[in-house]
């Protein structure tokens, strides 16, 4: 399991009810179910991935987060997880609002466009950056709204969303992000993980 999922799992207490939005093949869901007795549900757009989840015995709903989150009642989950998908929505702001409506808390992770390798790639090669967390070419990437850790940090603050914890992830190392180290973390982390509440 990738380190990102381990960090997410560590943020969630045992016996909670969790919705994994864009749960893919259910790796995180399975881990949470087996190790933390989490009552876990998934929402996934890909039919193939939904089948993989079913094969793992996971409860998953085939659907699109932009349209299908509205069916869940307010605060019906303790946590709603959105891993590296926010930037791929047509309207990320709307999705973020929905995550915080459906979940008492939300865990959102974003690939950091401010990561130094991304900056160097664009600066020196003059082509769209390709990294471990941004593996696709400009013409086939699902990402529509790339942002940096700093962008996201400011964005949630401007929306009066409370940040409980923000973590910068670089390979195997995770570290706390705060106002004072934001510039540094924004340069050296390829992934940002945010535990938020509205």
């Amino acid at each position: 399991m990738k380190n990102e999922f381990q960090v997410i799992a560590d943020l969630i207490e045992k016996d909670k009810k969790v919705l994994d939005v864009g749960c893919a093949d259910g790796t995180l869901m399975k881990f949470l179910k087996d190790n933390k007795n989490i009552n876990i549900r998934g929402l996934e757009i890909s039919k193939e991935k939904v089948q993989e989840c079913i094969a793992k015995g996971l409860t998953v709903i085939e659907g699109n987060a932009e349209k299908d989150l509205k069916q869940f009642p307010d605060k019906s989950f303790d946590y709603v997880v959105l891993s590296q998908t926010l930037q791929a929505f047509l309207n990320p702001e709307l999705v973020l609002d929905e995550l915080l409506r459906v979940g008492k808390k939300a865990i959102v992770t974003i690939p950091n466009f401010g990561y130094w390798k991304v900056r160097f790639h664009l600066l020196f090669k003059g082509t769209m950056p390709i990294t471990k967390t941004l593996p696709d070419e400009w013409y086939n990437t699902p990402n529509l709204h790339m942002c940096t850790i700093k962008d996201f940090f400011h964005f949630v603050k401007s929306k009066d969303i409370k940040i409980f914890k923000s973590l910068a992830l670089n390979n195997l190392n995770s570290s706390i992000i705060n106002e004072s180290n934001l510039g540094v973390k924004n340069l050296f982390a390829d992934l940002g993980i945010f535990l938020i509440e509205k």
Partner: protein
């Protein structure tokens, strides 16, 4: 061996009050089982059949000598694995494979015909509930069925919220749409317009409204397929001829195919049963039973739901299946949902659609492991 001896029957002694107000008692429920009930009695799956199905789910149907209607899904090592599970299926009341229906005799020994009480999906599941007592099953492992079978699944878990661990409605709806009712009405009109129908008394008059019933089946059969599926299978191919004949014989393969479907159906199905069962489907509106709030139908159940629809099903389209998912999610029920890619239309659930069969198998087997 005559037909009667091949059909297992439970005589329900307990009176059953029907939605129409009448009460029936001492009536037969014809059923079949596959696999064996384990000692804990926790491996039973109740399968509900669709409009023209019967209790003979898999293997060779001893009456029609044809493959059972769900042979792709049910059997040893199949999606519903009869090595593992005990499968029970019964003929719905109103049907014509041994359960109490319009071809049965009334207490005065006259064939009911249209004097048989109008039955509903609710009546069907209340009648079938007696099978649990018969087998001494406190709680089923699963209930499943497609189309009208799915409607029975929804009604059953609403009526008996603690009686199944898992619930699998397939290609179905919680409320029959105007289009569904329209197609059923077309079928009923075809039957009653046949002069041999004789106001439903065709048996005593030694006739059979076969032509009307065949037309009803032909019209319905089109709704079970998709435009793409029909086009790919038949296109404009001609039936055993080089060119058009400039007449009204079956020039096209699709015509010949439909005529065949109509004719074989007449051999195995009763026209009055077709009227009764389509009526039951039309009357089905689960939300209406709960003052318009579908969620309330499921408020008392802890069962785990898995809902399946098919991309090319325009009779019970994905959205109608999703409406059930939405109703369940709004009360925090445990519900999974998948739409299976298939060109085979509504009939997909009866056919060899590997993604469907593997999803069904995985859901059942994984849920059973957690048992």
């Amino acid at each position: 061996m005559n037909t009667e001896t091949k059909i297992k029957t439970l005589i329900v002694k307990k009176p059953l009050k029907l939605d129409c107000g009448k009460t029936i008692k001492d009536f037969p429920i014809a059923y079949e089982t596959y696999g064996s009930l384990n000692s804990k009695k926790d491996n039973a799956i109740l399968v509900f059949h669709a409009l023209t199905g019967d209790q003979f789910v898999t293997g060779i149907n001893p009456v029609t000598k044809k493959e059972g209607w769900w042979s792709y899904a049910v059997g040893p090592d199949k999606a519903i694995d009869t090595n593992k599970y005990f499968v029970i299926c019964s003929n719905v009341i109103g049907g014509c494979m041994g359960s109490y229906g319009p071809s049965h005799k009334d207490p005065d020994q006259k064939i009911f015909g249209t004097n048989f009480p109008v039955i509903t999906i609710n009546d069907m599941v209340n009648a079938q509930y007696n099978l649990l007592d018969h087998f001494g099953i406190d709680k089923l492992f699963s209930i499943t069925g497609g189309s009208m079978g799915g409607m029975q699944v929804l009604q059953f878990i609403s009526n008996f919220p603690n009686k199944s661990k898992t619930v699998i409605p397939i290609a179905t709806t919680s409320s029959h749409s105007a289009q569904n009712i329209a197609f059923n009405e077309l079928g009923r009109q075809a039957i009653t317009a046949d002069s041999n129908w004789k106001d439903g008394n065709y048996t005593s008059k030694n006739t059979n409204p076969g032509k009307g019933l065949a037309v009803a089946r032909m019209a319905a059969h089109i709704t079970y397929l998709s435009k793409k599926g029909l086009q790919e299978k038949f296109g404009r191919k001609l039936q055993e001829r080089e060119d058009l004949k400039f007449g009204f014989d079956a020039d096209f393969q699709i015509e010949s195919y439909l005529r065949y479907q109509g004719s074989v159906f007449v051999d195995r199905f009763d026209a009055n049963s077709y009227l009764y069962i389509t009526r039951a489907m039309d009357y089905f509106d689960l939300a209406k039973q709960f003052k318009g709030n579908l969620s309330d139908a499921f408020i008392n159940t802890k069962a785990k739901f898995f809902i399946i629809s098919f991309t090319s099903d325009w009779l019970y389209p994905t959205q109608e299946n999703k409406d059930i998912v939405i109703a369940l999610n709004s009360i925090g029920a445990d519900v999974g949902f998948v739409e299976i890619e298939s060109d085979k239309g509504h009939d997909s659930f009866l056919l060899d659609v590997p993604d469907f069969l593997s999803a069904l198998k995985n859901f059942l087997d994984k849920s059973y492991e957690e048992n």
